[in-house]
């Protein structure tokens, strides 16, 4: 009798663990290791150190957007304007530098500032005007897509590169070290990314901002009744997302330096997909920055790895679409009845 009861409890505990997002993250880590192992065995050129650096540089801007979008996602919303916004901000930043001769730091500040402003607009539309989040951010997505080209006259923008003054800011993310065998790139950006993941994890779990963000997603009415200024914190969640999109814009500029107008649509899907793969619930109310980080790792690994086994970028679209569908289905089953 006693034995039966304890096995029953254990069974319950086990099924609760399988449903938990911690379990999803464990599986994700296993998938990452397996996938890396697969690419490692399948392609000798994948094993090079430069491939690892490439995976890192590829993931910076996606990771920043994904960390940012985790917050609106947790409130039960989302942000589709990140991809085209990123291109729009960095285009305008480069334009200010090239045409008006602004110093680099001012251009960076403006780039980030535009992100925050767009986040505030999105948040205002969603929280105050009650516009469905996907429509609000769809509109800002299109607005940014047009705006970047209109303001810069449709020309592509360049950020300082090579021997130009100010090109050192790229070293923040990718330092080239001269060794006796040649030049070796060091993905310095990874350090900042991991720091940011830790900081935002703390913000989400240990501060008022994070607690309110989660509360808005799980029970907005209760939060309102307990006297919290929900409007303010709801807008704040979108502003965090905007801030990180601004960071992503600078990082993108530092990594690729050449920015073409009309690009960027679809970046946000990778970021949103990564957050959902990492265990952020589509219905809001729960999420994890560390999970998001793992999700981005998975997507970047696929992005960089697939060409090594002969599958081009088109396959990557197909596979990320499939993963996104799969992740949402798992999320639904985990949180469903």
């Amino acid at each position: 009798m006693h034995m039966e009861k304890s096995t029953d409890l254990r069974k319950q505990a086990r099924s609760a663990f399988i449903r938990s997002s911690a379990f999803q993250r464990l599986i994700l880590i296993a998938v990452l290791v397996l996938l890396y192992g697969f690419f490692y065995l399948a392609s000798p050129s994948f094993r090079k150190y430069t491939t690892l650096v490439q995976i890192c540089s590829n993931m910076y801007y996606t990771l920043l957007m994904a960390i940012g979008v985790t917050f609106p996602l947790i409130t039960g919303g989302n942000d589709l304007s990140m991809g085209t916004g990123l291109i729009c901000y960095s285009l305008i930043g480069s334009y200010l530098m090239r045409i008006y001769g602004w110093p680099l730091w001012a251009a960076i500040l403006i780039t980030i500032g535009m992100g925050v402003a767009m986040g505030a607009v999105n948040g205002f539309g969603v929280a105050k005007l009650d516009i469905p989040p996907f429509i609000m951010t769809l509109a800002s997505m299109m607005f940014c897509r047009g705006m970047g080209s209109i303001l810069t006259g449709g020309f592509s923008g360049t950020w300082p590169d090579g021997a130009e003054p100010g090109a050192e800011f790229r070293n923040v993310f990718r330092l080239i070290v001269k060794t006796d065998t040649g030049r070796m790139p060091v993905p310095l950006g990874m350090i900042w990314m991991i720091l940011l993941v830790i900081i935002m994890s703390l913000v989400l779990n240990k501060t008022r901002v994070g607690r309110y963000t989660i509360a808005i997603g799980s029970n907005k009415e209760a939060l309102k009744l307990s006297g919290v200024n929900v409007l303010k914190w709801h807008i704040f969640a979108y502003m965090i997302c905007g801030l990180f999109t601004g960071f992503a814009a600078v990082t993108y500029a530092a990594t690729f330096s050449n920015i073409t107008p009309g690009q960027g649509a679809g970046f946000e899907l990778n970021a949103i997909g990564a957050a959902i793969i990492g265990g952020t619930a589509m219905t809001g109310g729960s999420g994890s920055v560390f999970g998001t980080f793992l999700g981005v790792l998975l997507i970047s690994l696929l992005q960089v790895g697939l060409p090594f086994i002969g599958l081009n970028a088109d396959w990557q679209l197909l596979i990320t679409g499939g993963i996104l569908l799969g992740a949402v289905t798992i999320d639904k089953m985990r949180n469903g009845k």
Partner: protein
Amino acid sequence: MKDLLNRFKSLKLVRIMGFNRVVLIGVIIVLCLIFQVLSAVLNHGNVFLTYARFTSAMNYGYFIGFLALGVTFVIATGGIDFSVGPVMFCAALISGYCFNNYGFPMWVSLIMCPLIGMVFGTVGGFFVSYLHLPSFITSLALMQIAKGVGSIFTKTQNVSWPGSSDPGGWYRSLSNLDITVGGQRVNIPTGLIILIVVAILCSIVLNKTKAGRYMICLGANREAVRLSGVDTRRWEMLAYVICGTLAGFAAIFYVGCYTTVQPVKGDTFNNEAIAACVMGGTSMAGGLASILGTVIGSFIIAIMQEGILSMGFNIAFQYSLTALILLGAVIADVMSRRRRN
């Protein structure tokens, strides 16, 4: 003033069409006049109101119209579909590639377009209605998949459908028929006729059949429909299937007017199709849909696109303007719902 407005509202034609639709037609007329003046001022005396510009605007209106008609069904159930644009391109890419490289006859390629769209619609509908996934994320995923599939199938190359003089070029007369009357070539917009016929069919399905009733009721009060013993999943899925099929139809008219399709493109058309729906009075919350409004909304989008080109601006303005219009329409929708509650 108020008296005049009331008398206008009680006119028979206005009552049949609905007041909002009449306002929208007014918007079209005002837009045309604004563009007429602005193109003359800004673009060296360019004339906007010409027959050539009309047919060119209509060309844009056909495929946007078909996409928007499909999306109307989905929005009526309370969902959303972001995948229509890429699905349209995917259908055009695959069937065009089959025609060019595998020697499919033209009529087979034309039938393939709506079928491919239907496949995507069925998959999306299954995930949304039977697995209860949020429609917007499902359609975002499908959008990526449609882009990927189209591009993999054509090996990342553009697909050019045959020109009107090439063999198999007859499909172009589905959208534009060129006939010679007294030595002069006249362009008849056949696509407009087909669009109107399809719109009437859609209107009948949405308003007069059991399927349409259920779809609208699903958007208004899903729980009530389910509790009254209706298999909600089946009817919800049907809305997505219709949407996908119409996206496939749109492909025929897209290539009929623009010939060449590029892989990994098409996502801007989703936004315009959704904007057309919402402008036409279909509520984002579901439960309220107007086919006539959607058609007029698509024409507004088409005229705006043509007007922006006529004023000598580039296409980027179109994106930003559509965004503002979409926002305006949604805010109006939200406000009117608030007032009613």
